[in-house]
Structures are given as C-alpha cells and as structure tokens.
C-alpha cells in the first residue's frame, strides 16, 4: 500500500436517469425496485425489433434555458445538468481554475445531431446548418461545455471507451489528481442514443432484448430468461477532489475513490473474452491500486447488461477475483444500459451503497442462471455491515475495455 500518495475523495454527485432527474429521486427508485423502462411511442418503433427503452425521467429541455439547450446535443444537455448537480452538491468548491479539471465522455457522442444535421444539409443546404453543429456532434463537446461552465483550466478530457467510458473517466480523474495536475476534477459519462439508427444497429448485432410485451421486465441481468440489453439514456457525474483540498474546505466526503484497474481483452471487438480474465484482472488491479485485499470488497455494482454471454462471464470474474463474498447487483435491471453514461451513474450508485450501507436489489432476477455462485441481491435491498468497507464498480465496453473502480467508505 502506497502511503505517500495523494488520496482522492468524492465530494459531489449528480445524475439524470430514466428513474429520476436527480440523485435523490433515482436512488429512491432503485431502492424501491422501480423500472425506468417504457414502451416507445415514436413513429419509427415499427421499424426496429426492440420497441422500448429507458427514456430520461426528466426531459433536459425542461431543465435548461432554451437558448442554452438549443446549442447542445441531448447528450451534452444531460452531462451539463448532471455536472451542475454534482458541483452544487459538492458545495461549489472554491478552487483555482488551473487546479480544476474535467473528464467527461460519451460512448457515441452527438449522434442525434449528426443525423439531423445530415438531413438538414441534404434537404436545405450547408448554410441552413446550425453553426453549433460541430460542437454538438463532437464526443468531447460535453467535457468542453462543462469546463466553460466551471472555468476549468487544468485540462479537459473525454474518454471514449464505449460502455466503459464513464468509469474510465473517473479512473482518469483519480490519476489526474494523484499526479498533481489538479486538486478537483469533475468526471463521469453521458449518453443520449435512443435513436432508430442505434436501436437498429444494436439489433443488427442481436444485442438487444425484444421483450416488447413486458418492457419493465426486459432488463434482467443474471436471469435465465435474459435476452439482451435495454438501452437507457442520461448521465452520471461526480466531483473528485484531493483529500487535503476537501478537508481544508470542510467538504462532506461521500467515499474515497481508492483505486482503478484498467485492462483490455485484445480479443474481439464486441464479444467478451470467454474466461473473464480481463475483468478479473481489472478488479484485482483496482484492489491493489487501492491498497486493499480481495476480501475487503463487500459490494460490486456489476456491469451485467442482461446479454446472454456477458453476465455469466462477469460473475465468474467476480467469483475468482473477490474472496469477501461481496453483495453483487446490476442496477441496469432498472435503469437500462446507459452505454457511456453507465459507469457514471453506476459509480454514483456504488458510492451511495457505501455511504448509506445498502445495496439495491437486481430487479427481474426470477430464475438465476446456473452456476453463477456469487451473492446477487434480489427481492429486497440488503444492508452492508458497519466498519471500513470497499466496493467496486465494473464497466466493460465494446472494443474490449475493462474498467474497475474501487471506492472505500469515507
């Protein structure tokens, strides 16, 4: 365990999800076991096999002033809303601009803008495009807007690692503070991909659930009846801060962002490597990075997306990596899969599980797959014990990205 390294703590949380427009409403819905998944009503649903998704509970256009909203892609709107929440929750820390950083990414970026702008270009010509088209479609746009909003000058980054984006962003933020580049970093992920092209493209991979008659029961990680993931949208962003900086200003500390492990499968562009070694090594690396032992981890917010292949491989990786019988849950059973936003919101949930010492249940887990052999919370939320605890958020992405972020109680 390194003793002379900068400790990084979490001082602010922000989310906007299919379950609620903020952290409190989302967390309450998770503990209640509510589903944020609903049938879509757009005309195009007839053209795609999966006709439901986790639409944001609060439309970002209702939150942001119209002049601001119209120059932001929807994924940027979610990110800015979540970042402002997190910043306020952290008490709007006073920090030198050159000591404040941003790491916020998206799996896909401004795809709604790309497609709408292409239609405008073809139908009306180049000079009818919004001059904000490029800033709206670029995947670093959210990070850029947040840096403007907060006046951050220590560096603005946008991790792009598909469904590992949010967690990788938080991992980069931890390293940014440890390396001395910043005292405070706003980090997380955002996604707004409920568009027919995405729904069709994921369907072409046979990756999505088509349980159209029961949308709220479609996302069922670890269940025998699972048939694919359910797309969700929103953002999860946190404020990370050096412990010294947080303590000097008397900040409320939710948890310690203790370690990060990042590996890559180097195996297949979308399918997980079958032994789970990449995920397992990411978890073990995060544990070592945090100065913990495998028995210290008492909770895992699993990546588990409800696809037939991935969930069981992850269960095996957890079983092999962690010896403390952690309580495992997949909150995607209620939020759906937010792709680049997943690691953001699920880090928030992991942090809240530690600080409130309660783990939400995995919804729709009626008939667990055979041989999982991990303690998955189902039915009702379960308490975590008192004392010093650690928890891990796993996020894996197309491209073979594996990220595990380890948090410990404050």
């Amino acid at each position: 365990m390194s003793t002379n390294r900068v400790r990084v703590v979490v001082t602010g949380l922000g989310t906007t999800t299919p379950l609620g427009g903020d952290v409190a409403s989302t967390w309450a819905a998770l503990l209640d076991g509510r589903s944020g998944i609903r049938t879509l009503t757009e005309d195009w649903v007839d053209t795609v096999p999966a006709k439901f998704a986790g639409v944001a509970a609060v439309d970002p256009g209702e939150v942001l002033p119209r002049p601001e909203a119209r120059r932001l892609d929807r994924y940027e709107q979610f990110a800015l809303i979540a970042a402002r929440q997190a910043w306020q929750d952290a008490g709007a820390p006073e920090v030198e601009p050159t000591r404040l950083g941003v790491v916020v990414g998206s799996g896909i970026g401004g795809i709604n803008t790309i497609l709408q702008a292409y239609d405008t270009y073809r139908e009306k010509g180049w000079n009818r495009l919004s001059p904000y088209t490029v800033p709206m479609l670029m995947p670093n746009g959210a990070a850029g807007w947040i840096s403007i909003d907060l006046g951050a000058q220590a560096g603005t980054h946008a991790a792009v690692s598909a469904c590992a984006t949010g967690a990788e962003s938080i991992g980069q933020a931890i390293e940014m503070i440890r390396s001395g580049r910043a005292d405070v970093v706003v980090a997380g992920g955002s996604e707004a991909a409920i568009h027919p092209l995405n729904m069709a493209s994921f369907a072409a991979m046979r990756a999505m659930s088509t349980r159209n008659d029961e949308p709220h029961r479609a996302s069922r990680p670890f269940d025998k009846g699972r048939d694919g993931f359910v797309l969700g949208e929103g953002a999860g962003i946190i404020v990370l801060e050096s412990e010294a900086h947080a303590k000097a200003r008397g900040a409320k500390i939710y948890a310690v962002a203790a370690g990060v492990g990042i590996t890559s499968d180097g195996h297949h562009i979308s399918a997980p490597e079958p032994t789970g070694i990449g995920g397992k090594t990411a978890m073990l690396t995060a544990i070592a990075d945090a100065g913990l032992s495998a028995a210290d981890v008492r909770h895992v917010n699993a990546h588990a997306t409800s696809t037939p292949v991935g969930d069981e491989i992850e269960a095996r990786a957890i079983r092999e990596a962690l010896t403390g019988s952690p309580l495992v849950t997949s909150t995607k059973s209620m939020t759906g899969h937010l792709l680049g936003g997943a690691g953001g919101i699920e880090s928030v949930f992991t942090i809240l599980a530690l600080s409130e010492r309660i783990v939400p249940a995995t919804a729709n887990l009626d008939d667990p797959a055979d041989g999982l052999d991990v303690d998955i919370v189902r039915g009702e939320p379960r308490k975590l014990p008192d004392g010093q605890l650690a928890a891990i958020n796993n996020s894996f992405g197309f491209g073979g990205h594996n990220v595990a972020v380890a948090f410990t109680t404050a």
């Binding site: 119209r66 002049p67 119209r70 120059r71 000079n127 919004s130 904000y132």
Partner: protein, 79 residues
C-alpha cells in the same frame, strides 16, 4: 411594402432573445452585438440566418462582419 425600422427592431429583438436568451428590450439600435450584448460569432451566424428568413434580405458572410450594431443590421435590411 418594406418593414419599418420599428418592425425590424422588434423582429431582431425576438430573434436575439430566441437564440441567446437576452431580453428583447435590451436589443436597441445603438448596441454592439459583440461588445454590448456579448454575442459570439457562431450566434451571429444564427441571428443572420434567422433575420434572412424573417425579413427576406440575404446577408452575405463578407457583409456580416461589418454589421457591428443593431442599427447596422436594421440599415442593411432596409436597403
């Protein structure tokens, strides 16, 4: 029948408000878009395109950079 100065001013106020959120009442003839109203170059492009739609007067890019104040735009549209 060409629009009057007052009609153009009211129309511009509405457009600027829609695009930037600045109250229409602050859009007065002597105001500079950049220095007084803090409108950036991208928003100016949006305002010019919206003004073309509203008043039917095309504002070429090489002219746009010379239109510093609200009054400049009103004069350009009237002429």
């Amino acid at each position: 029948m060409a629009a009057t100065e007052q009609e153009i001013l009211a129309g511009l106020g509405k457009i600027v408000n829609e695009i930037t959120g600045i109250p229409a009442s602050e859009v007065t003839p002597e105001k500079s878009f950049v220095d007084d109203l803090d409108i950036d170059s991208l928003s100016m492009v949006e305002i010019a395109v919206a003004a073309q739609d509203e008043f039917g007067a095309e504002i070429p890019d090489d002219q746009l950079k010379h239109l510093k104040t609200v009054k400049d735009v009103i004069n350009f549209i009237q002429n």
